[in-house]
Symmetry: C2
Subunit: 395 residues, 2 copies
């Protein structure tokens, strides 16, 4: 049984209580990032006295966020400190993903380890929200039960969806490939933990930021499943836009009088580089997992497929020229399905950026997380929320 | 003579000293925005005790940031409080602008009033940095002396330039219309106060944010002198980009195979809506203050001029469709020279945004600050710096 952290009144101004709350988070973040660490090492890291840190550590240990591992470096000089680590049995983040072709759920502990996972291949195109989210809820309950059996306490559920999500983080405003519109998904999902819903490109970008080795803190993350989405990370923060709609790279005009797009525009990037357009150009009928088929044919040297991907890469390069000019990101990162097609998309894409003098400082990178990015980003967003404010995370 | 505020060591962690520093800023901001206010009213506004606020106020008064106006509302109930106001004799911000056709300098006090101002019409096209900045320095010294004669202490100098500025805030990386490249302007400007150099579009956007009635906290500010620049404000903060180059709207591709642009690209927005392109389309030779001539001819109903502006508005609409899709700003604001041409640019621009379903929530607005925006934004940036950290502003 853990002792809850004391929670101050909401809206408290910048006082001792607010300072304590921030310092609890700094201790927890430090141990999560650098641990195992002794109390003295934590004090040195964050520049507080050892006495102040001990009080904070005791509180976090009692509340189940930190664990003591026993003496550290017993061969060292002087009295050994007790090594601290974030708890492998404390709060956990639940992440879920509604894909066009699949559903997935995982639980991640404060150490960042995936402790439980479930997924199911299912064609969600045009399926109503209710049966899809009922099926997702079953997977959430299964993973949550597994996590609890390991002593973890789910601290929140974050759900990635392939569409625009309102700033209320619960309404899917538009998910064209599911055919969902203005859907309040919160009412159709478990209500026993705090819930956040966000665009899959946003969670994919956050996963890149938090999990990829050496990821820059400023980048434009471009991903695709059926449509093309992007997410902009600035100084380690997502830029969401006023209505939560930022990152609609797929509807940037590439050729202003080009083909009509279902969005109402003409010549949008999706008309050249969306899955539908690429499959049409490659002479492949739509269906599940067409990205694998495109990759296979391109790898086998099929000229039509390669030409289709070249056209998509060129269009991506034109749209990204505009984005790089507007945003000056350190890098562009290709994630999701695009990462699998990178060998064929990248050369024409970079050619356009270079001839238009719009190459970002660190160039165009390919995500190592692949299609798992959004799911991991969702689960880790809950974990980060706990590290950022352990007081607020106590139910 | 004023008593300097106590300055803690740099890099101090989140301690009493850091909290005091933030609370001094909160008191000063509150009085600047809402004053005159009694100590009790300040305490209520920021949620600290009256005793804590009194200590902070005394310190700010002794250091010359606040002034006491004498008893407030003498007819009220109870003992009257002393009304506080920010000082009209304390620190001041110096703003300067290097325009293609002019130089200007002003001094703004903590109350936001312009207290001294000097400007000169001069054709700076292709002039070397040294004589231009020597001339600007004379104007800075003149305005600074006037301000000091009124009891003001210049706390910093901010200089707006029509070009890209590095994140060091002193190097003009590229200012094509002046023909300056990689110019460290700090060495050519007065060194007796802290100096910041920034792009004119950035300062124009900040002026809009800070000075315009009801300005949103999220908007894309588009301005033009000769080239076309933009600045993005997100949650009340400028998005600068990794290298400080964000906002290059002028080089977003509008028609990817359009005319070659000096930047190295093709079909960039400036090839359709930059001053040179519009003058060419209108059959007007380049020269100083051509914007007035364009506005006069368009107002007189000249068909060629109107057609040229219609083409520019359409191209702006296409480029802004991409920007709105990527950034989801609350509004697009046309500032600088564009504000004077708005009656003719706005209809085709809005037509493009609407037919491509990319209208921002609050639509396209026209700045009321006109060509003064960048100069005012520069001076106010210094004033805001003082309000944000009065301890740091003490020389």
């Amino acid at each position: 049984m853990t002792a809850p952290l004391h929670r101050p009144r909401p809206g408290t101004p910048d006082t001792q209580q607010a300072m304590r709350r921030r310092n609890l988070s700094r201790v927890l973040h430090t141990v999560a990032a650098e641990g195992p660490l002794s109390r003295a090492a934590v004090a040195q890291h964050i520049g507080l006295t050892r006495a102040a840190v001990s009080t904070l550590v005791d509180e976090l240990t009692r509340a189940g966020f930190l664990e003591e591992l026993g003496p550290q470096r017993p061969g060292g000089v002087g009295r050994p400190g007790t090594a601290l680590t974030v708890s492998g049995r404390g709060p956990a983040g639940l992440g879920a993903e509604v894909g066009v072709d699949h559903l997935a759920v995982c639980a991640v502990d404060l150490r960042g380890a995936v402790r439980a996972r479930a997924q199911r291949r299912v064609d969600n195109r045009g399926r109503a929200p209710k049966p899809v989210l009922a099926e997702l809820t079953l997977l959430v309950r299964q993973v949550s039960a597994e996590a609890q059996a390991m002593g973890l306490r789910p601290a929140g559920l974050a759900v990635a969806v392939p569409g625009l999500v309102g700033r209320d983080t619960r309404t899917v405003v538009r998910a064209p490939n599911l055919d969902w519109h203005d859907t309040d998904v919160a009412t159709l999902l478990p209500s026993d933990v705090p819930l956040t819903v966000d665009n899959e490109a946003n969670f994919g970008a956050l996963a890149e930021l938090w999990l990829a080795d050496g990821a820059p803190a400023d980048f434009l993350h471009v991903s695709a499943e059926i449509g093309i989405g992007a997410a902009l990370v600035v100084d380690g923060q997502l830029l969401r836009g006023t209505r939560g709609f930022a990152g609609e790279l797929g509807h940037v005009p590439v050729r202003p009088e080009g083909p009509a797009c279902p969005c109402g525009g003409r010549g949008c990037l999706e008309q050249y580089a969306g899955e539908g357009a690429v499959l049409r150009a490659a002479g492949i009928a739509p269906g599940p997992d067409r990205v694998s088929l495109l990759a296979e044919r391109a790898a086998a040297g099929d000229a039509t497929t390669r030409k289709a991907l070249r056209g998509a890469g060129t269009a991506l390069g034109i749209a990204l020229t505009g984005a790089v000019n507007l945003l000056d990101p350190r890098a562009v990162v290709l994630g999701g399905a695009l990462s699998r097609l990178a060998p064929w998309l990248l050369p024409p894409l970079e050619k356009e950026l270079n001839r238009r003098r719009a190459a970002p400082a660190d160039g165009v990178l390919v995500s190592g997380l692949g299609p798992d990015g959004p799911l991991l980003g969702a689960a880790h967003s809950v974990v980060r929320g706990v590290l950022d404010d352990p007081v607020g995370a106590v139910g």
